[in-house]
């Protein structure tokens, strides 16, 4: 993430360099390296990168998990409740072996479970809206981990990804944009309240240290998220390369014929009858997945992201895996730069929304003043 954002980010920090380089003609190597390190540290400690992408992740995963919980409402007891075939006793025994934990197995009472389920719904909704985001993000991670751990034998790759992201998001400042928190901060700013700026001396300094740490945590979190998505595609692609069926271009034929992932048999059959198409799409899938980690640093990432989007939409429809595909699409969205999201925001709200500084830790980028007032297109 840091890398991908370095191009736009370098501009504002560039002015910091000239005063330090005393001999511009022959800049010596150690000096250049020091400058690089310095620029990196400034970026790391002072500029929270990709705040919009973080907000996108928050909205995306909050919404997906909410939809997932609601979708499984009729099956909630079967999946996570005391009436599940994976009984609370079995789950607890498994936790002892695997190290997972879940609030859901603390009690076998049906009422307790229903309360947990309701709390989970509310948590997802609040997380999605970005209300007291940091605290709610911890709660959201607890919810996702608890439900995942309870139904560990029902999870697919999408659930796995959502667990990871829910945990990583705790460390990010994902509530700075498109959130109720941002709205509150903006209202406070326009009302002339300068919260937290009143303490003097040590208190002030502690505040500064806190802001630096929050920024560093956020940047590290975004870096880990980006690396995680790269690992995902790298693995998915490279392990496929080892497969004979992907090699001979028939893999998708088998995928299209798995009964449980064929909600529209007619559609699957129709696609399956085009051998050339099957081979081309199969090869493209492998190629794009393998290429993914390597194209992120150039312009080529946009066509690749579009291809992946198309692939996931197809998986969602053809294989009946909307949550899985949604989780992947949201993960891809982390690689879109802030200027993309800002233009998206301007597109939605045709008039730019001029606001002041959106809070103590707001990204000090030149365009950071244009903050759309409400959550944007949600996943």
């Amino acid at each position: 993430m840091e890398r991908t954002e370095q191009a736009p980010v370098a501009a504002p920090t560039a002015p910091t360099a000239p005063p330090r380089t005393t001999e511009p003609a022959a800049v010596r190597m150690p000096q250049r390296v020091l400058d690089r390190v310095h620029a990196f540290l400034v970026l790391l400690t002072e500029r929270p990168v990709s705040l919009y992408a973080a907000a996108m992740l928050r909205i995306g995963y909050g919404l997906l998990y909410l939809v997932f919980l609601l979708r499984e409402f009729p099956h909630r007891d079967e999946m996570w409740g005391p009436g599940s075939p994976w009984t609370p006793a079995l789950a607890r025994q498994m936790f002892d072996q695997s190290g997972w934990v879940s609030v859901l197995t603390l009690s076998d009472s049906r009422v307790y479970f229903e309360v947990c389920y309701a709390v989970a719904l509310v948590t997802c909704a609040l997380f999605l809206l970005g209300w007291r985001t940091r605290a709610v993000s911890v709660l959201f991670a607890v919810v996702v981990v608890s439900f995942h751990a309870r139904a560990i034998f029902m999870a697919d790759g999408g659930d796995n990804l959502m667990v990871l992201m829910a945990v990583y998001l705790v460390f990010t400042a994902c509530g700075r944009r498109w959130s109720l928190d941002a709205r509150r901060t903006r209202l406070q700013a326009s009302a002339g309240k300068t919260a937290g700026r009143l303490g003097g001396g040590l208190r002030h300094q502690l505040g500064d240290a806190r802001i630096i740490l929050i920024t560093v945590l956020h940047n590290c979190g975004m870096f880990v998220i980006a690396a995680q998505v790269c690992f995902l595609y790298g693995c998915a692609g490279l392990y496929k390369v080892q497969g004979v069926k992907w090699g001979d271009g028939t893999a998708l034929h088998y995928v299209l014929n798995i009964d449980l992932f064929r909600p529209w048999p007619e559609l699957s059959q129709m696609i399956d009858s085009h051998h050339v198409l099957i081979a081309v799409v199969g090869y493209l899938t492998v190629l794009v997945q393998v290429a993914f980690p390597f194209v992120l640093f150039g312009r080529l990432k946009y066509p690749v992201l579009v291809l992946l989007l198309g692939m996931h939409v197809n998986i969602a429809v053809v294989m009946g895996l909307p949550i899985f595909s949604g989780a992947m699409i949201v993960a891809d969205a982390v690689f879109l730069p802030d200027r993309f999201y800002r233009s998206l925001g301007r597109l939605r709200w045709c008039t730019p929304w001029p606001t002041g500084v959106t809070g103590a830790g707001a990204s000090p980028g030149p365009e950071s003043a244009l903050v759309p007032p409400q959550p944007g297109p949600a996943g």
Binding site: E46, E72, T87, F153, H253, N257, P366
Partner: protein
């Protein structure tokens, strides 16, 4: 560790001259401070915390990489440390349809047995449990995990823990066996009702035939893709058996 210490030092030594520059760059609002400057202890503490964050993030990425990569010299040597960090929360598996996609369809059926007080036993017909899942998935925009994953993954786990025979050899295997039995019991009860005291599963594995070659004929081996049937032992059920 050395790297961490170094970056802390760099951080501290640069903090002083970074400040005025940061103000120029527009980030100054946050960095304004009193004339006295922050106490050394606070600066050092912040620097150490920054270095720690960075080190943990990098270590995490490295450990996750070793976890998802194929087994190699490094991951074998440090498997204990990797597992300790990665499991359970960061556990992951991205072999999505890889190396090869599943190339069989499985049909799981169950039948039940009831022993009357006089000792006579009555065995039911086979009830197709998979057909139920398939019909629920069909023409559904948003199929439930209970249809797509529950029985399928339970059976996959059973295969993994039991292998070819039906004797559980580990705690995990016993647990999975109970899970599979409970699923079957619940589904039979939902589909047919009635009481029974034991249940048996039958799993028919039907390979998906290879695609027709472009010329219109199948490769010689394809026609011989025969279904395989596996019978599991009768399992006792304790009053709709959940234990």
């Amino acid at each position: 560790m050395l790297g961490g210490v170094e970056s802390t030092n760099v951080k501290e030594s640069q903090r002083t001259d970074a400040e005025p520059a940061a103000r120029d760059g527009g980030g100054g609002l946050r960095m304004t401070r009193d004339i006295s400057g922050p106490p050394r202890l606070l600066t050092a503490g912040t620097g150490a915390a920054v270095a720690l964050c960075l080190a943990v993030a990098l270590a995490h990425v490295l450990l996750v990489f070793l976890h998802v990569a194929p087994p190699n010299a490094i991951s074998k040597a440090y498997s204990r440390q990797i597992d300790a960090w990665v499991r359970p929360v960061f556990e992951q598996n991205w072999r999505l349809f890889a190396p090869n996609p599943q190339w069989v369809n499985r049909q799981i059926s169950a039948r039940t047995k009831r022993t009357a007080p006089d000792g006579t036993t009555r065995v039911s017909d086979w009830i197709d449990l998979t057909a139920r899942d398939n019909s629920v998935v069909k023409h559904n925009v948003f199929p439930s995990h209970t249809a797509q994953n529950m029985q399928r993954q339970a059976w996959n786990s059973y295969l993994k823990t039991h292998g070819g025979d039906n004797h559980p050899r580990s705690d995990r295997a016993v647990m999975i066996q109970k899970y599979l039995r409970n699923i079957a019991v619940d589904r039979v009860a939902a589909q047919r009702g009635g009481t029974f005291d034991s249940i048996q599963l039958r799993v028919i594995t039907q390979p998906i035939p290879a695609p027709r070659a472009a010329g219109g004929f199948r490769p010689a081996g394809a026609a011989s893709a025969r279904a395989e049937t596996r019978y599991l032992p009768w399992w006792k059920v304790s009053s709709h058996g959940t234990d």
